[in-house]
């Protein structure tokens, strides 16, 4: 495939490197920050070379933040755990509700069908703060504020529409006749759904699940308002690094690295699966 001139190849290499640096720089910089102390970070001019320290990670994992103003407890690992529990539970619930709903919207035309689907989508473009005020009042009355279930429920505003609309498209791409053939062969409607439609839409369901996991993971404002310290995810927990004695850049960077890692790993793993699934796909007759 290399049929271009030497100059062309060099130009392409330089261009690629530039793009790569442009996109990777913030991530690399944060990774470097996470191994520096606050003093090293705030040096002017900044240095590329430094003596790495693990103190930031140590502080995060032990939950003890040492500042000039004294010791501070930060439940970072708990926050990380919360993020994990809340996002997974929210995505699971959304898949459980959203996949059958997506199938219904894809296969059946019913009264108000399009309106319901669109209403669900509209949750995505309502400003969350507008929803939050009345919601927090209701949650207090219902006893749902500061519960895991309450947050998982409110995360459905993020996850459900995504899953519904992405998976619906995948179901619409599968010829209904494949399910018809399966049903004629002596299987019930339910079996056609679970054994034919869902596996064929598998890559789509995985992609939608992954996306909504990332969106839930990154959510800040819902958990900020509706959860107290012990149920807050990392996004909110990171606020603790803004202390009375200054902003703990090193810890923030380490916290970012730790909180990005799980979603990054999940994305990398799922990406492989997605490609595999799509190449097996060839859904259309």
């Amino acid at each position: 495939m290399d049929h271009s001139s030497l100059a062309g190849r060099i130009f392409r290499g330089v261009a690629l490197a530039l793009v790569l640096v442009f996109f990777m720089f913030p991530i690399v910089w944060i990774l470097m920050m996470s191994f520096q102390t606050n003093e090293q970070i705030l040096r002017i001019p900044p240095h590329i070379l430094f003596e790495p320290t693990l103190s930031n990670y140590q502080a995060l994992i032990s939950g003890q933040l040492r500042t000039t103003a004294g010791n501070l407890e930060i439940p970072f690992m708990r926050n990380l755990m919360n993020s994990f529990v809340l996002s997974s539970a929210a995505v699971l619930l959304a898949l459980l509700l959203g996949v059958p709903a997506a199938y219904a919207f894809a296969r059946f035309k019913f009264r108000l069908g399009e309106s319901i689907a669109f209403t669900l989508l509209s949750f995505r473009f309502a400003p969350p703060l507008l929803v939050l005020l009345p919601l927090s009042l209701y949650y207090q009355q219902l006893g749902l504020s500061d519960t895991y279930f309450g947050i998982v429920w409110v995360y459905q505003l993020i996850a459900l529409p995504l899953i519904l609309w992405i998976v619906r498209g995948y179901f619409e791409d599968i010829s209904p006749d494949i399910e018809h053939a399966y049903r004629l062969a002596g299987h019930s409607w339910r079996e056609a759904f679970t054994r034919i439609a869902v596996p064929l839409a598998g890559p789509g369901i995985a992609a939608a699940g992954l996306l909504s996991f990332i969106f839930c993971w990154n959510n800040f404002v819902f958990a900020l308002i509706l959860a107290s310290a012990d149920k807050q995810p990392v996004t909110v927990g990171a606020l603790a690094f803004v202390t009375a004695s200054g902003i703990q850049y090193g810890q923030i960077a380490a916290a970012i690295v730790l909180s990005v890692t799980p979603t990054l790993l999940l994305a990398l793993y799922a990406q492989r699966y997605l490609v595999e699934g799509l190449s097996l796909g060839a859904v259309k007759g």
Binding site: D177, I178, G186, V283
Partner: protein, 371 residues
């Protein structure tokens, strides 16, 4: 005894904001056991809707469908004992060709040996033995269609529904498969309905052909009957290649019969004794009727109708001569070479006994003698 009985079935598709579509109207049809029936018609005539109602993918708006004396129109597809080959093939992508065909047999709880024996046999019949272990995405459209056909025919069912079963096949293979499938169906006494818009296929494969148009069953009869005694103008013009010549004529009583004429160029004397009571009444009332004559019945080189030749094609075994007369295009088919060129004036013979006469509403009021 009727295997499949369709009684007064209607299908209306209604969607909000659009006028309802009446896809099938008052359909009555009975298919006997072991019979092969073709549903023939142009696109959107209701033939596929009919098939899907029998399979159970479309509900019946009104009416009833019974298969082997069981009413099936309320049953789920799984309980209807119907096998179907789909127009879009609809193979299961994650399964190999072999697994696709064996799939329904597994549900029938046959032994492994029996399943593989049947799969091999049907694969040989439709010539797909060499691709049994391929996946659907790796084979051509024509092969997928044969797999789909095999998957339907391998099953034990009361009724086999085939939607455009050979549309994607090469002409030679199609002819071979038609024969084999007809043989298989006959040998096992299988009852089958297939949808097609190909007349040749319908004639070759079916015992009886149901011609549909605009949701209405026009005529349900053997190919010979459709050709020789078309029920109405639609069937007359739809069946037959090239299509029947149709002329609009004026009617006048003459010599105890009727004189049908097109301007001053063409005239037919229809003796009264070839018409029944109803036909005579119809001719007495209407002052204009349509008449049709098969191109094969038009004689070239004799007769008193002078036509100007528009085209003259020798097809290797027959000539198609198209000529214009009094603003009408007439086509004649003869087994001989005709030496006329475009622009020449030659005589055509249209004999009154070869005329089909259609009343004002399009129904045939007199058939041609001997078809």
């Amino acid at each position: 005894m009727a295997m499949l009985e369709i009684k007064n079935v209607d299908k209306v598709y209604s969607s909000r904001g659009k006028p309802p579509v009446h896809a099938v109207r008052a359909l009555d049809m009975a298919v006997t056991k072991g019979e092969i029936v073709a549903l023939l018609g142009s696109s959107g005539c209701g033939k596929t809707s009919t098939l899907r109602m029998i399979a159970g993918f479309e509900s019946v708006t009104s009416g009833a469908i019974a298969l082997s004396q069981r009413r099936i129109d309320e049953l789920p597809p799984a309980k209807r004992k119907v096998a179907m080959a789909f127009e879009g093939y609809s193979l299961y992508p994650p399964l190999t060709v072999r697994e696709n065909i064996a799939f329904a047999l597994k549900a029938q709880q046959l032994s492994r040996g029996e399943i593989s024996r049947r799969v091999e046999a049907i694969a040989r019949l439709v010539e797909i033995e060499d691709i049994l272990d391929s996946f659907p995405r790796a084979i051509s459209g024509g092969q997928q269609q044969r797999v789909s056909l095999a998957r339907a025919l391998v099953r034990d069912a009361d009724l086999y529904l085939l939607d455009e079963p050979m549309g994607q096949l090469e002409p030679q293979l199609r002819a071979v498969l038609r024969g084999r499938i007809k043989g298989l169906l006959a040998e096992r006494g299988m009852t089958a309905i297939f949808v097609t818009h190909d007349q040749t296929e319908a004639s070759a494969l079916a015992d009886r052909i149901a011609v549909m148009e605009d949701g209405v069953l026009q005529q349900f009869a053997s190919e010979r009957e459709l050709k020789n005694r078309p029920a109405n103008l639609f069937v007359a013009s739809f069946i037959g290649e090239p299509p029947m010549n149709l002329l609009e004529t004026g009617v006048a009583p003459a010599d105890g019969g009727f004189r049908l004429s097109v301007g001053s160029d063409i005239a037919f004397q229809i003796p009264g004794d070839t018409l029944d009571q109803a036909a005579r009444r119809s001719l007495e009332q209407g002052n204009r009727v349509r008449v049709g004559i098969r191109p094969q019945k038009v004689a070239v080189g004799t007769g008193d109708v002078r036509v100007r030749v528009v085209s003259n094609q020798w097809l290797g075994d027959q000539s198609h001569v198209a000529g214009e007369c009094a603003g009408h295009l007439l086509i004649a088919v003869t087994p001989n070479r005709i030496a006329a060129r475009a622009g020449d004036v030659i005589p055509f013979a249209l004999e009154p006994r070869h005329l089909h006469i259609f009343g004002a509403d399009g129904t045939c009021i007199r058939h041609a003698e001997g078809g």
